[in-house]
Symmetry: C2
Subunit: 382 residues, 2 copies
């Protein structure tokens, strides 16, 4: 718990919920008759309603971008380092919106929610949602919030994929698209990592084909494996060497299967905190949304062709040691944007933090990102 | 089953077993009073007994390097592409020996073997063995075979680590050390991948703390996850893109958790064949041997210092796209060998096959490896 909330934090925040009664047709063919989206806003929407920024979250993210829920809250929102008064995404200048994705487990309708048709949790019957579905639902939230056009839509990783989809599906609804540590589609290796994680969850006997809520259990072992594996791929070899190396927890080898190396301790700790907060069915859905994302698929895998629809100015950011979505993947996006004569800024940040770098307050990252946000702000009404 | 055994194969082969009654003191402090090692030999030991080559195997390898056990045998030994008459490791010139490591599951004493003290399988009570322990046991096999000095000890991956240990522990017992796709110690990332695999096995309810034999079950789910994850790290992003890309098995997305992408099908198939043949307790032991391997640890992490003991000529080979043990890791070995003025040849093979490249018949690899083996042969008596 912070003794006092840091001066540069947005401070105490709270979530809101919108209920949607207009049926949502999903890519999978199913229809959600009604659903809720939980969201948070920081800063003030100006009179012209042109200073709004949407932040899309990644696999395990939420609508809670910044601030604390109470003085006893131990951790701030997941992008506290970038969102707040005077920060890169400056809540003194922008009206910043975070929304929990449909299918999530933090308040928006998802597998843990009660299915009105059965009065039981959806569980595995919650439809598999796609990045397109999310963007459609976010567009409806946009209308409810009275926003005609976002000053910027911003996201890292899976969040960056939503930004790309926004620029394709609703080109007039955003002036800037900021795509961080993302890719226009997963590689076979990316899909394979997701599949191993899914298999770990789905073959855990406590999974009960997704109906574990009714058995008062969770597929804890499987979800732990999924999280450890995921986390491992978010870090670079270099940062792991620096953080842990071959350091032993007790200084010597014990010749048993307890925790010996510090890195083992770290991974188990990450798994511990994750299983207490994240829903396994949501994890499965999120990895599927990642696998399926491929906006160019309908254009014969021609990313340039599908981005013809886009009109936003783009800022694309990658990190040198990100091996999940390497700079090469961002180059592909930048090239396709250039093919369409769109305004593109590109920053390749020197960092040894791997994919996780997009969450961190790295000086070079903050500096170029701030400069770009100054430009975004300069186009908003005072 | 091969209709006829290929002409260039060593052909039909069979295994032999040596029983050792001399107690073996292990690094973990335990003593194995007796044990068996299963091995295969190909070619003829010459009169001077100076044309013998030992091949050490990797994590899931065995003593069965080449040839077939019967005309109905569907697959040859794991290094068929390199071991045989007229091949790189030429059985017309060399007497080639493969041995299953202690703790293995293919005939040498290991967790599946009967513990003479309990008349039950060792299971989790089989001591954790190290690379040093293996080399010590292999040295005893060397004596039994009547070999004073190996013309070469050769190994890839974990096998290459055994070669390094041979050169340090028994410098006079080998003339050439051929270290392929290996490293002088694991990184934190390597250890982390092993730990995730171990956790998958150990948290499988069917694992029964390693006593699954007595429950007539195997921790199949956990072993499958371990294998899929391992296999994934043996391939490069590039080769997976080439082999599978984003190809769908049925041409379209089904929005369910069945097999959709070809890469998922491939991984599940790999897992299927592995669980039928490999023992989970052995998998655990092997990953521990990998984690623990660090011959320089006793010399203040100074690899050059510990290699002062070595006197063999070295051939070190790495593969450009191997991200498990990258060329950088081989450079570290080469540097330490140079520091000791040892004769070192180094080949960095251009390949997009990842770590698995060491198993494959890649032209550049075969070519440089053959040239080196000519040199090894030239020093053997006719």
């Amino acid at each position: 718990m912070p003794e006092t909330i840091p001066q540069d934090s947005i401070g105490l925040v709270k979530s809101s919920t919108f209920h949607f009664d207009q049926p949502l047709s999903l890519d999978c063919g199913e229809i959600l008759d009604s659903y809720e989206l939980v969201y948070e806003t920081y800063g003030e929407l100006n009179e012209s309603r042109d200073n709004a920024i949407l932040v899309c979250h990644a696999l395990s993210g939420t609508h809670h971008l910044a601030g604390y829920y109470s003085m006893e809250d131990r951790k701030p929102g997941w992008w506290e380092s970038l969102v707040g008064p005077g920060k890169v995404i400056d809540t003194n200048r922008f009206y910043v919106v975070g929304v929990n994705n449909l299918g999530g487990c933090n308040g928006s309708t998802g597998p843990k929610s009660i299915n009105p048709k059965t009065n039981k949790p959806y569980g595995p019957d919650f439809p598999i949602v796609t990045v397109s579905d999310w963007v459609e639902s976010q567009s409806r939230l946009t209308q409810k919030l009275g926003i005609k056009q976002w000053a910027a839509v911003i996201g890292g990783s899976l969040g960056g994929m939503q930004v790309l989809q926004w620029a394709i599906d609703f080109p007039d609804s955003l002036r800037h698209a900021i795509v961080i540590a993302a890719a226009s589609k997963l590689t076979a290796q990316n899909i394979a990592f997701n599949e191993v994680a899914r298999q770990a969850i789905r073959t855990d006997p406590a999974f009960h084909e997704g109906h574990y809520y009714e058995h008062n259990t969770i597929p804890e072992s499987g979800l732990r494996i999924a999280r450890m594996l995921g986390h491992l791929t978010y870090m670079s070899d270099d940062i792991m060497a620096e953080k842990f190396g071959r350091a032993l927890r007790e200084g010597s080898i014990n010749f048993d299967y307890g925790i010996e190396f510090q890195v083992e301790s770290y991974l188990r700790h990450q798994a511990d905190s994750f299983v207490g907060t994240f829903d396994a069915n949501t994890y499965l859905l999120m990895t599927k949304a990642l696998d399926y994302f491929d906006p160019a698929a309908s254009s014969g895998s021609d990313l340039s062709a599908v981005l013809e629809k886009a009109s936003a100015d783009f800022f694309v950011i990658s990190f040198t040691s990100d091996w999940r979505f390497s700079p090469q993947r961002s180059h592909e996006i930048v090239k396709a944007l250039h093919d369409n004569d769109l305004n593109v800024s590109y920053a390749e940040i020197e960092s040894h933090h791997g994919h996780d770098a997009f969450l961190l307050a790295l000086p070079q990252y903050l500096s170029v990102f701030s400069a770009y946000m100054d430009r975004v702000a300069s186009e908003c009404t005072e």
